[in-house]
Symmetry: C2
Subunit: 349 residues, 2 copies
Amino acid sequence: MSKDSSRSQFNSITIIDVAREAGVSYGTVSRVINDSPNVKEETRERVKEVIDRLGFVGNRNARSLVSGKSHVIGLLIPDLGTAYIGEIIRGIDYELESIQYNLMLYTTHRREMKESGYISSLIQSGVDGVILILPRNPAIYLEKLRSLNFPYVLVDHQGIDEQGPAVGATNYQGAFDATEYLLELGHRRIAFITGTMDLGCSQERLLGYKAALQKHQIPFTPEWVIEGDFEQATGYSGAQTLMSLVNRPTAIFASNDMMAFGVMNAVRDMGLKIPGDISVIGFDDIFQSSQTMPGLTTVRQPLEQMGREATRMLIAMMKENTIKPGKIELPTRLVTRDSCKPLEAIQGN
Amino acid sequence: MSKDSSRSQFNSITIIDVAREAGVSYGTVSRVINDSPNVKEETRERVKEVIDRLGFVGNRNARSLVSGKSHVIGLLIPDLGTAYIGEIIRGIDYELESIQYNLMLYTTHRREMKESGYISSLIQSGVDGVILILPRNPAIYLEKLRSLNFPYVLVDHQGIDEQGPAVGATNYQGAFDATEYLLELGHRRIAFITGTMDLGCSQERLLGYKAALQKHQIPFTPEWVIEGDFEQATGYSGAQTLMSLVNRPTAIFASNDMMAFGVMNAVRDMGLKIPGDISVIGFDDIFQSSQTMPGLTTVRQPLEQMGREATRMLIAMMKENTIKPGKIELPTRLVTRDSCKPLEAIQGN
DNA sequence: GAATAATCTGTGAACGTTTACAATGAAAAT
DNA sequence: ATTTTCATTGTAAACGTTCACAGATTATTC
C-alpha cells in the first residue's frame, strides 16, 4: 500500500505559491530571493514576510538547472580514518559556509578504482569544483580536469602535479627545523623514521632531515634511518630496532605523530624514560599529541588552514571560470612540548 | 576579462545530442538510460554506443527536478576529529555505492547552531533522506522530520528518540561483558571512567558496569567511578586520581579507547606495568587499539556495520516513502588483547 | 499638462530531463 | 484483405527556477 506518490513531497511550496500569496508575479519573488535591486522596498518586505511565513526555500535542482551552478563542491579523499583529514575538512567547511556552498563527499577508501571514471561522474553530477586530498594517482584525471577547464585544487601532493593549483605545507623546512632543534639540544645521534615513501611529503621530510645534518656537519648514518608507513605499530617496531643498535641514537624523529606514539610506547616498554633517556619528536601535531604525557614535541602542519586556503583558491577559480596554476606552501611550525631534552643532561656526552 | 559565460560548461552533451547522433528521438534515449524494456535491442545498442562515444552522463539536476529524487542523502555529524565517525561513514559509503547514491556532508562542528533551520535547509536542498550521527539535541528537528514524513535515521543516540528509527550498539551489554570479564579474572576492585554523561551511550555503559558488579555481589564504590569526557587527557588524570587512592583499584575500565590510552600512559608514568600491575580495558576498538603495546583489550563496537545498517534502513524508508520506527541494536563484542591479566598473578589476593 | 526618463513588475522562454500519451508500423488473427 | 494486437517510437507537457525583455507604473523635466 504505497503512500501518495506526489512528485516531491517535501519541497511543496514553490515560488509560485509565494507569488500568489504575496500578490505579485513569480518573477518578483525570484528577484527578492536573489537580492535584485530592482524591487520596491515595500514589495520586498511583503514577499519576504510570505517567504518566512510559508517556510519557503528555493528548490536547488531547478535553480542549478537553469543557472548551471550547483553551489556544491566535491571532496575526494582516500579515507576518513585519520584525524589528519578531519582537520583539513574543518578548514574547508569553514570557508564554504561563508559562501553558502555544500560539500559532496567522495571517499575512495584506498581502492584504486577507475578514478578517471569516478572523476567524470563527479563532474557531471553537477559539482562546481573539486578538492582532492592526498590524491593517489592523479595523473590520469588531472589531464581530464585541465582539458575541461574544471576547477580543482590538490591538497598535500606537491611535487607530482607540476602545473596545477595545489596547497601543501613546508615539509622540507619542517623536518629541517625539527632536526636542527635536536642538534641544538646537543644531540648528534639522531634517528629518523620515514613515512610512506611514495608520497611527496615523506620524501621532502627525509630531505629536510638530511640537510640539517649536513649543515651541522654531522655524517648521515643509514642505519639510523628506518622506512616507515605512518602507522603507530611501525613506530614501535622501528624504535625497538633502533634502540637495539650497539651505537644507538639519543633522539628519534618520526615522520608523523602516530609513529612517534609508537616510539614512545616502545621506549617506555624498554624501561627507558622520555625525555630522560631519549628524545622523541613527531610531525603533524594532531590533537592527541598535546594529550600524551609527556606532551609530544612535533612539527605543526597548519591542516585547517590548508583546507581553508585550498577552498579559497577553488572559489576564486570557480568565479573566474579558469584554472590558475600556483602552488601554495603553508609554513610549518615547531611545537615544543616535553618529549625532548638537551643531550648534556642525558649522558654528558 | 571574463571567459565565455555559457550556462554550463562541463555537461555540454545532452540527451538531445545523443538522440540526434543516434538517429532516434530524445524519448528513446531517455528510455535507454533508464533501462526501460520497451526498446528494440538493436536501437538500444546503437544508443548505448553513442552514449559511450560522446561520453554522455545525464544531468542530475534536470533528472532530480522532474523525478523529485536527488539520489543524494545528507549526513549530519558533529565533527570529523574522531576515528569513530570515520568508521561509521565507511559503512554508509559502502551501502550507498551499491545503489548509486551520493553523500552530502554537513558538519555542525559542535556549534549548536539553529539546528532546526539547518535541517530544513538540508531537506529543501534536495536530499532524499538524512542520517544523523550522534545528534546533539535532536528533539527540535525530529519533530519536523516526522511531520514532513522525511526519511531519517539516528545513529548512536538510543534512549532519546523513543519513536524514531535508530541504530546503536549494545552499550549496556558491552559494558556488562567487559566488567564481568574483569570479575572473572578475579578482579574485585574495578574502577570505571565514564563518557560524556549527556549521551545515552555513556549512561548505558555505566549501567552495564553497575549491573555486572551487582550480579557478582560486589558492592558499588562511588570513589572508583570518575566522570570523563572521552578525551585522552581525562583518562590520564582519572587514572592518576584512582591510583592515588589508599584503596586503589586493580583494574580500570574506561568508557572509550582514547581514555584508556590516557590511563595506560598514566599508569606507565607511575612506573607500573600493564597488565602486570593493573588491568586496563576500553570501549570502541578503534584501529589504534590494536597498535599499542600491549594491545588494548576493549569492547568492539561494530561501527562500520552500524553505518551500513542505518543506510539500509534509510534506503528502505526512502523507497516506501514512510518513516518506520524501529530501533536496531548491534551486538558489541569483547576483544581480548594483552592489557588485562588474572588478579591472582598480580598480588595473590 | 505632455513628454521623457526612471523605476518597478509581469511574461515567456529556457535549462535537461521524465512521464504519459499518441502515433506508427509490423505481426497475428480473422 | 482487413482488422486487431503488440511492440516500438515520437511528442508534448511538466518539474521550479532564472533571465531577458516588454509592459506598466511613477517621478521628473519641459
